[in-house]
Structures are given as structure tokens and as C-alpha cells.
């Protein structure tokens, strides 16, 4: 299994604090040490860092921890291999283009016996169930909306449908974004917290680090952090319900059910 970390905000924000705690789970406070990755959207642009090394010993993870990259949509992943060997092409997040936007996807779970027939366009490069699921999602959306990206509600409903289908194969917690919307699906385990004014101090579980967000924010900032398990021990995190698909926008979860 693996762990997921996501962030969605109404203003570009750095993820240094959360990534500090999260990346410790990649070999220090937990054993998700078979690679890691993180994607940052900046407008339509997207940076993707991946490494087959453990996140605690990766020089690139060190840059991500220390060099504040400001972004409104971030997806990170630390890997404990279940399917597919430890190699770069099997590291999440995965990225493809659809409708002239980059789409980024990371998965926590296991989908045994999930081998969908390729329907034409998107092919997995690596050997993970996760990348195959991502390809099927994009293929489905492309076929459903060949003219381009639909309004978010239609997109949500189509995604809901294909997500339910894939979930029949196993555990399918995931984060998905195209830099505008931020989807979070809970199959078994996924939590989030929304930080907004009045901001307070937060203390990491995995490292003895405290940040006082009041010193770093303006009153209108809003930041949602989504993670497999809570990253802080002095805040109240909300568990997403199994089977629930949320869309975050500007740091707030929406639902269309």
C-alpha cells in the first residue's frame, strides 16, 4: 500500500510543512520507502518530481521540503510496492494530457486482477494497477466528452461512475486533478482538514515541528489538506466516508450527489 497527500487552496501556498511530516513516512516513521512523487500545478503548468528512492533519503525530496513551491493544487505519494517493481515508471503521481490540460493522479490501495482492455488512447508505461486505472479514467472521460471538458457537475458524475466500477476490483483511494478541480475518492481511508481564519498553530505527528499559520497567512486564505491519515496531532481532521468522492475548489469540499 501507499500513502497520499493532497493540497487545494484559494491562493498559491507552499506545502513544505505537510510534506515534512508526510515524507518522514517514506522510510523514517513508516515504511513506504519504494519511491515517492509530487506534482504541483502552477496555472495550467505542472511540475512533477518522482524518484524511486525513499523520500527520506532523496536529494530531490530535500529540495521539495526546503524550497517553497507555491501552488493551488498539489498531489503527493509515497510508495510501498504491491504491483510493479521499484522503478521510476511505477512511481506516482502519473500525468497525462486531456482536453489541453495536464491531469495528475495518485492512488493508494490495490486492485488485484484489474487488467482492462486498452480502449485506444491511453497506455500505461509502467506495470502498476494504479496507472492502468488512471488510463481507464481518462479514456472514459475522453469518450464521454469528446468535445472538451464539461461543467464540473457532469465531470463529477462521469467520474463517479467509472470510479464505482474500478472500486469493484479492490481498494481505490485516489487523488486526481487537472489544476482547476481537485478530486479525492475514499475507498477505505482518506481524511482532510480545511484551514482558514482564524488560523492557529499546527504540530506534526511524524516530526516534532510546529507552524503557526497565523503568521504565514492572510485572513482570506483557505487551504484544504487531504491525506491518507492525519498529519497533525492538535487539529481535528474529517474522515471522508468510504465510497465518497469529493471535489475541492478554493480549499473547500463540494459534493454533487
Amino acid at each position: 500500500m501507499c500513502q497520499l497527500l493532497g493540497m487545494n487552496c484559494n491562493v498559491p501556498t507552499d506545502i513544505c510543512f505537510s510534506f515534512e511530516g508526510f515524507s518522514a513516512r517514506g522510510g523514517k516513521t513508516d515504511d513506504h520507502s519504494d519511491g515517492w512523487g509530487i506534482a504541483f500545478f502552477e496555472g495550467k503548468g505542472c511540475r512533477l518530481f518522482i524518484d524511486a528512492k525513499a523520500s527520506i533519503s532523496s536529494p530531490i525530496a530535500e529540495v521539495v521540503r526546503c524550497y517553497p513551491i507555491h501552488s493551488t493544487h498539489v498531489i503527493a505519494h509515497i510508495r510501498k510496492a504491491t504491483q510493479g517493481e521499484i522503478s521510476l515508471e511505477n512511481c506516482h503521481p502519473f500525468r497525462r494530457e486531456l482536453w489541453g490540460r495536464y491531469w495528475v493522479f495518485a492512488h493508494n490501495g490495490d486492485l488485484p486482477d484489474f487488467h482492462p482492455q486498452s480502449m485506444g488512447f491511453y497506455h500505461a508505461v509502467g506495470k502498476t494497477d494504479s496507472e492502468r486505472a488512471f488510463c481507464l479514467i481518462l479514456e472514459t472521460l475522453r469518450q464521454r466528452f469528446p468535445e472538451g471538458q464539461p461543467p464540473v457537475k457532469e465531470l463529477y458524475l462521469a467520474l463517479r461512475e467509472i470510479t464505482d466500477l474500478i472500486s469493484l476490483y479492490g481498494v481505490f483511494n485516489y487523488l486526481l486533478s487537472e489544476g482547476e478541480h481537485f478530486f479525492a475518492h475514499c475507498s477505505t481511508k482518506l481524511s482532510y482538514i480545511v484551514r482558514q481564519a482564524p488560523f492557529a498553530a499546527a504540530h506534526l505527528i511524524d516530526q516534532d515541528v510546529t507552524v503557526d499559520f497565523q503568521e504565514l497567512t492572510t485572513p482570506s486564505d483557505r487551504v484544504a489538506v487531504i491525506a491518507t491519515t492525519p498529519l497533525t496531532d492538535n487539529e481535528v481532521w474529517t474522515q471522508i466516508q468510504p465510497g465518497e468522492l469529493l471535489v475541492f475548489q478554493d480549499g473547500l469540499p463540494l459534493k454533487f450527489d
Copy 2:
């Protein structure tokens, strides 16, 4: 305009030395300071670092200069914007998936009035002529070989054809790779050098740095470095002829004309 740097080797090699000189042109010894990027293949996996900052002041470029990433296929680019604003989505190299492999592309030149109709699959995310040209190349290859990747000679001939067509629009020097083959097209300016035994010392033009490759190599190593202009001042570089498309494999250029 921009500058290109590529490397193709028969064993995974780091590009620290060449990138040291090349990245100096991104704001220090030359003015290509509107962003930079570099892609490294490791097997089928591919890392891509891009930044809209100048390469001399980018913390991520610093990691690339100092942290030896070993790869057989590397494509790098420093940008001086001609079309498309200075932003992350306009930074080269660009990456897409075709036939279950990542393809990476970087362009030096300018293609005024190049606005091909989208033929269906690949859409540019940014606003550059370069990304549009890359999308057209992949679209053409996909349509020509819908069953999957053909033998290299057929691939070369198809690429030759679409390259000639796009070259009618302007200056189209480019590097293209899917991690197995390495294509280099010269429209106006592109040089290469093949380093192999007996190895000697090389001295950069853009920085006062010398490396003695004999100390770092084994006798069977072979490395081709391709660049817009030579990076060293004590070696003989070969100019690729305008209109020529080379394929490098294991550090050697092949031709199929």
C-alpha cells in the same frame, strides 16, 4: 530563440559537466533566461524538471548540476521566449505518452504562423509553436502506425517526412526521444561530439571547469553530447548539416537516408 542540450550513451551517465556549462547560458554567459527544463530517461521511466526561472538562479537546476542522475537519454533546454509568455506550461521539454512510452521533445527556433488544426488526440497545454509542433509529430506517428511502434527505420522515415513539412514554417532544430532512440534534427544550428576511449580531458567554454573523462569512464563507454553550439573549447565538435535528421543509439549517430 533557445538552446538545446542532449545526451545519448551506451551506459547510464550523468550530465553534470555538460549541464554546468549549458545552464550558465541561462542568464550568466548568455541571455536564455526565460525558463529551462531537463528530462532524464531511466529505462521506460522519465523524470522531467522544468522551471520558469532562469537556470542560473533556479534551486532545482542547482540540484541537477550537483546530484548525478544517471541516464542514457537526456534532453535539456534553456528558453528565450519568442512565442508564449514566460510560464511553466511554456517551458521545454514537453512530454506525452505514445505507444506506452513517454516521448520528450525540446525545440530551438521559431515557427511563425504555425497553427495546425488539431487532428484529434494531442492538444497543446501552453501557447508555444514548439508544443504544437510536438503534438503534430505525435499525432502523425500515431495515425501512421496505429498498431504500435514500428522498426526504427520506418519511424525515422515518417519522422523525416513530418519534420520536413513543419520546417517549411521556420527554424526547427529539435531533440526528441522515447528513451530508446534519440532523434536530433538540425534546421540551422546543432552540433555533436562522441566521446569514447581513449578518453581525454575536456574544458568548458562557459565555465572554467575541466573534467578528465579517463578517470570517470570504462573503455567500453560511449557518450554522444548534442548541443546548439559546442560546450567545450578543446574538443572537435561535428556540425549537423541543415536539413539533417540523425538518430543516436548507444552514443553513435545513425542515418537512414
